[in-house]
């Protein structure tokens, strides 16, 4: 029977130049429930679909506020995300303590990128099994960064990761032009719609399974959960028919 000899550790390349352990870690991200992030000129928004393992259990946390100016959304192993977010919290506090400066988003993303990379290059370690979206506002404005288990990080205008996130990304690509000029409210609505796209047929976005994080220029990162979301969910999906109609039209134009 075929057995892959190159996937026992993350320090051995396959003859094709692949590192299987890293690729497997990336699969773990795809198992996580979907999260999306969008930036405008003034705001950065995260939206996440929370999952509960069973009816009786609570929902898994998907958005973690790190510092007053940013937070992260995770897809994949939540425990790995906690390790990373603890590190980010420490680094953020250290930056404020030693320089009286909120850490830059590019900087903090780079630091977790470096950490993740070192896990892929030493024997006996395993890559992080989690993808992150880092969103917030720093001295240079609103930003959204994507982090992958391989250590790859990149700045995004809009992004979705996790299970069935391709649908969300398709929505984001279609509406990309609108994001930059969007208001705070519109940006949240876009994020929720993108999230909705990734849901399977029988599922709905509810106050229980949705998380939204918003930060803006001179506006701190705030996590919205539960009843705080009622307004947005109603406003976004009330005009459901309208949007699907619009969507339908543009689909026709496209084809």
């Amino acid at each position: 029977m075929f057995r892959n000899n190159y996937d026992n550790d993350s320090v051995t390349f396959s003859p094709q130049g692949r590192i299987f352990q890293v690729e497997y870690a990336q699969e773990a991200v795809k198992q996580g429930s979907v999260v999306v992030g969008i930036v405008s000129k003034t705001h950065a928004v995260l939206a996440a679909l929370k999952r509960n393992a069973e009816e009786l259990s609570s929902y898994q946390k998907k958005i973690i506020p790190i510092d007053t100016h940013y937070g992260v959304a995770l897809a994949g192993l939540a425990s790995d995300a906690r390790v990373l977010s603890n590190f980010m919290k420490q680094q953020s506090l250290a930056s404020r303590l030693t320089y009286d400066r909120p850490i830059g988003l590019a900087e903090i993303t780079n630091r977790i990128g470096d950490r993740a990379q070192s896990n892929t290059q030493s024997y006996g370690k395993r890559p992080y099994g989690v993808g992150l979206l880092i969103a917030g506002v720093d001295a240079t404005g609103p930003h959204l960064f994507e982090f992958q288990p391989s250590g790859v990080t990149q700045e995004m205008l809009a992004c979705g990761i996790g299970a069935r996130s391709q649908m969300a990304r398709t929505y984001l690509e279609r509406n990309l032009d609108e994001f930059a000029g969007s208001s705070r409210e519109d940006l949240v609505k876009h994020a929720l719609r993108a999230l909705k796209e990734s849901l399977s047929q029988d599922k709905e976005l509810t106050v229980d399974n949705t998380s939204v994080g918003v930060s803006g220029v001179s506006e701190e990162f705030v996590l919205y959960e539960g009843h705080e979301l009622t307004g947005w969910l109603d406003a976004t999906f009330e005009n459901k028919e309208e949007t699907t109609a619009e969507g339908g039209e543009s689909m026709e134009v496209d084809s």
Partner: protein, 259 residues
């Protein structure tokens, strides 16, 4: 001319034209002569009410007879925007700042790890441990911590530099503590105040202490400081008050005499 009065130096040793003999290097290892503390003056004050707490401090910073600056706050909100805790530190300002930042970080980490803000009672005990942790190289400060307790009542905790602490109704700290504290004893806890018209001697009854309304406490704080300014050179310039209520935290600045 000085040499006339100078006793002749012993022969064979270097001659000095000055009255003072040279200090010679002592044998063996030299002692550290660096003293790591200084006193930056100023005074602080905390009063607990029924449903609020006021922590106040002047804003002058001194070294010796010099005024470093007229605005150097020593009362701080700590633990991030949701927290309802204020800390005042008076004494050696660098230690005060370091202490404030340590407690602030601890409160923020607590919020991050537990998803809720720390209670004042917990924070008060933690502060005591931090101070005692440096028992043999203390933070040279008199700290006063204020907030609202679990029942929503005003809480003031005061500390010595090595962590002994106690919850109190009110406390003054710093340079003018000895001037302000007796005033507070009398006006907040009604010490030496008797119920009028009950006769003399054994008939006398101590006036019963009851929580003061906020307006009265604010006035007391202002009076305490404007009086301290008159009698203590290290107190003055500005009065900073942090008022904690269940609705949030207010900050008030009022000028004091700058002389």
């Amino acid at each position: 001319m000085a040499s006339v009065f100078h006793p002749g130096p012993p022969s064979g040793t270097p001659k000095y034209s000055f009255a003072q003999q040279p200090n010679t290097a002592s044998e063996g290892a030299r002692q550290h002569s660096f003293y790591p503390y200084t006193d930056n003056g100023g005074s602080t004050l905390g009063i607990a009410g029924a449903d609020f707490t006021i922590i106040a401090g002047d804003t002058r910073s001194t070294s010796g007879y010099s005024i470093n600056t007229r605005y150097c706050p020593k009362v701080f909100r700590i633990g991030g925007p949701e927290s309802r805790i204020a800390l005042s530190v008076v004494g050696f300002a660098a230690d005060g700042d370091a202490l404030k930042e340590r407690l602030d970080t601890i409160l923020k980490m607590y919020k991050y790890q537990h998803g809720k803000t720390m209670s004042v009672a917990a924070c008060a005990q933690r502060l005591s441990h931090i101070l005692y942790g440096k028992r043999f190289f203390p933070y040279y400060v008199h700290a006063i911590l204020g907030g609202l307790d679990e029942e929503g009542k005003g809480a003031v905790y005061s500390y010595d530099p090595v962590g002994s602490y106690e919850r109190e109704q009110c406390r003054a700290g710093g340079a003018a503590a000895s001037l302000i504290m007796p005033f507070l004893d009398n006006q907040v806890n009604y010490k030496n105040q008797c119920i009028p018209g009950r006769g003399t001697g054994h008939e006398l009854r101590q006036r019963v202490q009851e929580p003061l309304p906020r307006k009265d406490v604010e006035q007391l704080v202002e009076d305490a400081f404007s009086s301290a300014v008159e009698r203590h050179i290290e107190v003055g310039d500005g009065l900073q008050m942090i008022i904690i209520t269940s609705k949030g935290i207010e900050e008030i600045y009022k000028p004091l005499k700058k002389d």
